[in-house]
């Protein structure tokens, strides 16, 4: 087993930042309150170095700016870390028998051999030091890998981490849902569906666990093996 890795962030460096405690509850602390504290977030798959690169890349794909919060506030890197540690990360549900064909036409879908874990681990080696580059340099780096399978996964996983139910570790405090006006799993819209024509109807978002009043076990926890 590898040494347990943590993502260590200084609260001051990020501003409003998220704390993940071991019981998976995310909460927010603010820079002005605890500006000297560093935060240790337990990682399931990534090394700390990898996590910093992925966090930085996700923040360029989905930046935090005037149009709303981004990958940083939503905790996208934590979402991706958990997905990779779970069955999806190791292709538990993909047909993974050879022969493979890395050069297959797009219409056949991804035909390579590498699992998402392997794609990230290998691909991130080429992005060493990415997190310490300037945003403009980071964008240039990402443009260079835009056609790779790693980038396709990064983009897809970033959107997933922005807008999945918070039970999966991203979309913390439902920041993604609030930003686009998605209310989450509301049990009934019966009284509203024929109203509000042409006007935004924006009920306050609720998460699956809030609706069900119980714990939900997300798929990534089903058989989260060691990396």
């Amino acid at each position: 087993m590898r040494r347990r890795q943590f993502l260590i962030l200084s609260a001051a460096s990020i501003g409003g930042v998220l704390v993940y405690s071991l019981d998976r509850k995310a909460s927010r602390i603010f820079a002005q309150e605890k500006s000297t504290q560093t935060l240790k977030i337990p990682l399931r798959f990534f090394t700390e170095e990898e996590a910093m690169i992925v966090a930085a890349a996700a923040a360029r794909i989905f930046p935090s700016d005037d149009s709303g919060p981004g990958a940083k506030e939503a905790g996208v890197v934590i979402f991706i870390d958990r997905q990779l540690a779970g069955p999806w990360g190791r292709d538990r549900y993909r047909y993974a028998q050879g022969p493979f064909d890395e050069n297959a036409a797009r219409e056949f879908g991804y035909q390579g051999k590498a699992t998402p874990r392997e794609t990230y681990r290998e691909g991130l080696k080429g992005l060493k030091g990415f997190d310490s580059l300037s945003p403009a340099e980071q964008d240039k780096n990402l443009q260079q890998i835009e056609d790779t399978h790693l980038f396709a996964l990064l983009r897809q996983n970033t959107i997933e981490g922005m807008f999945s139910d918070p039970v999966h570790g991203g979309n913390v405090d439902m920041v993604g849902w609030q930003m686009v006006g998605f209310p989450g799993p509301r049990m009934s819209n019966y009284d509203e569906v024929d109203k509000h024509f042409g006007e935004a109807f924006r009920p306050k978002p609720v998460s699956l666990e809030q609706v069900l009043h119980r714990k939900v076990r997300p798929s990534e926890d089903e058989d989260a093996g060691t990396a």
Binding site: R106, E107, D165, V193
Partner: protein
């Protein structure tokens, strides 16, 4: 191999067709029935289904490709590759099958779909038939199936408004549909805003919009078996998930409660059927039962007097090919029938960017407004470069963010990530609606199923192989329909409409529909198809193959209503005739 006591009937598959067959046979005959379902029993945890990641993206309800995949190539000269993750179609697994996560869209086939070849020749002459087509008429007509359609609609509880009651055209319904002997069991669902905008746009262009028929409830409904379901709540988690409140008809909420009460029926889950065994007798071949792998990995022989193959299209073809039943189709010689006439309903959309928010999170499966002005042969195709057509519509099934975030107007030429993309994607997230087309794919000589020579499943059996591509007829149809759809989008008030880029090669990634059909087609004689009009195998009379695999061609409509209607017809024939005198049904 362990041999179990013989059953009168063994049914392979516990989805819509398998459970409906079990229910009908057990209601009207004393036969002992074993239903073998390869997936799990999966009813209790449905409330967790309101999670887009696990259900819509990681596809919690779908077949696991690591256990059961299919390969694809576009034509005979190309090397096949496995579909490693399902995308273009999403077969289900577990009790209820695909019927648990379906979209519940429930229109009948247009009457002339049953006589595609002869109706086309009658109107336009043989010269109009597309090159290398393999169209042939069904051995059953719409008129013969109509009473079974009506029965299916009452059983599953369908809402809609008739447009043709016994030949009388009714405004507001689909005036182009085939005649109906009765009104729908429930009135249409509420029409959400986006679909209402479509109705306005379509009307302004002179078309005939109607509320789509769907198997979700618009009010509390009790079916003839006494099964009650509450009115749909428009939660918007419908397609790709099971229903949280049983408003959407599913095999587990309509059929399973009845089947469970029947002492003559045994349902075994985690039972993966490997082969249908058969003997040669002086009177022809006879199925003697099936072998399956149980949960512990042990191979079991289940003898039976009658075998009903009721898997999805892929499973039906795969098992017949693996079991060596029937003659595989060879396009070079035109001989053989098994695997022939593989079709996949044509489905694509255009994205309309609208001024006002749509509140698209509210919706329900199959809910929306459509037009059939371009369906089937409604349009005169004399001067068009294609035959047949389909329905154009604007469905409001409930929109989640993972599958829709990031769509931007093409004219803005934005990158697919970064600040500008994010800003515009947020702006249009709830202002983008898809106008969708569902159309017919004319069967083609080269499109077929057989066994893959290279790729295998974990049991060591060859995977099923699809040879499949879009042909000129679909490509030209799509081009024509795309223009109509863009026009409707603008009539709805769209600032911009992203058009459909057109069909290239068949793409396994983009979701098309889970309406893969054919391969074990029904025909009027053994040289033309695998089964007769009762879905009885022409060569092995105690084997019935049911489901959309028996369709000679794809309608524009979703296949489930026709699948259920034909299953009722087969069940009646088995109870009323076959069980009394086991022989080929004429």
């Amino acid at each position: 191999m362990k041999t179990l006591p013989s059953a009168d009937v063994v049914i392979i598959g516990g989805g819509w067709t398998g459970l409906l067959m079990a229910k009908e046979l057990s209601a009207r005959s004393p036969v002992s029935i074993v239903v073998l379902e390869r997936g799990r029993s999966r009813i209790p945890e449905y409330s967790s289904g309101m999670d887009e990641l696990d259900y819509f993206v990681r596809m919690h309800m779908m077949q696991d490709p690591s256990r059961e995949a299919v390969t694809i190539r576009h034509h005979d000269k190309e090397r096949s590759l496995p579909i490693r993750q399902y995308g273009a179609f999403l077969p289900g697994s577990g009790v209820g099958g695909t019927g648990e996560h379906w979209g519940a869209v429930f229109p009948r086939l247009m009457p002339d779909c049953f006589a595609l070849q002869s109706k086309t020749v009658e109107r336009y002459g043989a010269g109009k038939l597309p090159e290398d087509h393999t169209m042939q008429d069904w051995p059953v007509t719409y008129d013969e199936v109509e009473p079974y359609y009506a029965r299916s609609e009452r059983e599953v509880g369908v809402c809609g408004k008739a447009g043709n009651l016994n030949g009388k055209k009714i405004d507001g319904g689909n005036i182009f549909e085939g005649w109906r002997s009765s009104e729908y069991p429930m009135p249409p669902t509420i029409t959400p805003y986006f679909s209402e905008l479509f109705r306005g746009g379509a009307k302004s262009l002179g078309y005939h919009p109607y509320n789509n028929a769907t198997a979700v409830t618009s009010e509390e409904y009790t079916n003839p078996d006494g099964i009650s379901r509450p009115a749909c709540a428009f939660c918007g988690f419908c397609e790709r998930t099971p229903c949280m409140i049983n408003a959407k008809a599913q095999p587990t909420n309509v059929l399973l409660p009845i089947v469970r009460q029947r002492k003559t029926v045994t349902l075994r889950t985690n039972a993966t059927v490997k082969r249908i065994l058969h003997d040669s007798t002086p009177n022809g071949a006879k199925a003697r039962g099936v072998t399956y792998i149980d949960e512990s990995g042990e191979e079991i022989f289940q003898p039976a007097d009658l075998v009903v193959l009721a898997s999805y299209t892929l499973g039906n073809n795969h098992l017949l090919l693996l079991s060596g039943l029937g003659t595989p189709y060879d396009p070079a010689t035109g001989k053989g029938t098994l695997g022939k006439n593989l079709t996949h309903q044509v489905s694509f959309g255009v994205q309309a960017f609208l001024e006002k928010p749509l509140n698209k999170f509210m919706g329900a499966g199959g809910t929306g407004v459509r037009i059939s002005d371009f369906d089937a042969d409604v349009l005169d195709h004399t001067h068009l470069p294609f035959i047949r057509g389909g329905m154009i519509g604007a469905m409001s099934v409930g929109t989640q963010p993972l599958s829709t975030f990031g769509t931007t107007p093409r004219s803005m030429k934005l990158p697919r990530w970064g600040a500008a993309w994010k800003k515009t994607s947020i702006e249009y997230f709830d202002r983008t609606g898809v106008i969708a087309f569902s159309g017919e794919q004319v069967p083609h000589k080269g499109n077929r199923f057989d066994l893959d020579p290279i790729y295998k499943n974990p049991l060591g059996d060859p995977l099923l192989r699809m040879t499949m591509n879009w042909q000129d007829n679909e490509r030209k149809m799509a081009e024509f329909m795309n223009a109509k759809m863009v026009e409707i989008g603008h009539a709805m008030g769209a600032k911009e409409v992203n058009p459909f880029p057109g069909y290239g090669d068949y793409d396994v990634v983009r979701y098309q529909s889970t309406h893969v059909q054919g391969g074990t087609m029904m025909a009027k004689s053994p040289d033309l198809g695998v089964v007769n009009s009762y879905q009885q195998h022409w060569e092995i009379h105690n084997l019935f193959v049911i489901g959309a695999s028996t369709f000679p061609n794809s309608g524009s409509s979703n296949p489930t209503p026709t699948i259920l209607a034909l299953t009722y017809r087969t069940a009646d024939a088995i109870v009323d005739r076959y069980l009394k005198k086991p022989a080929l049904l004429a």
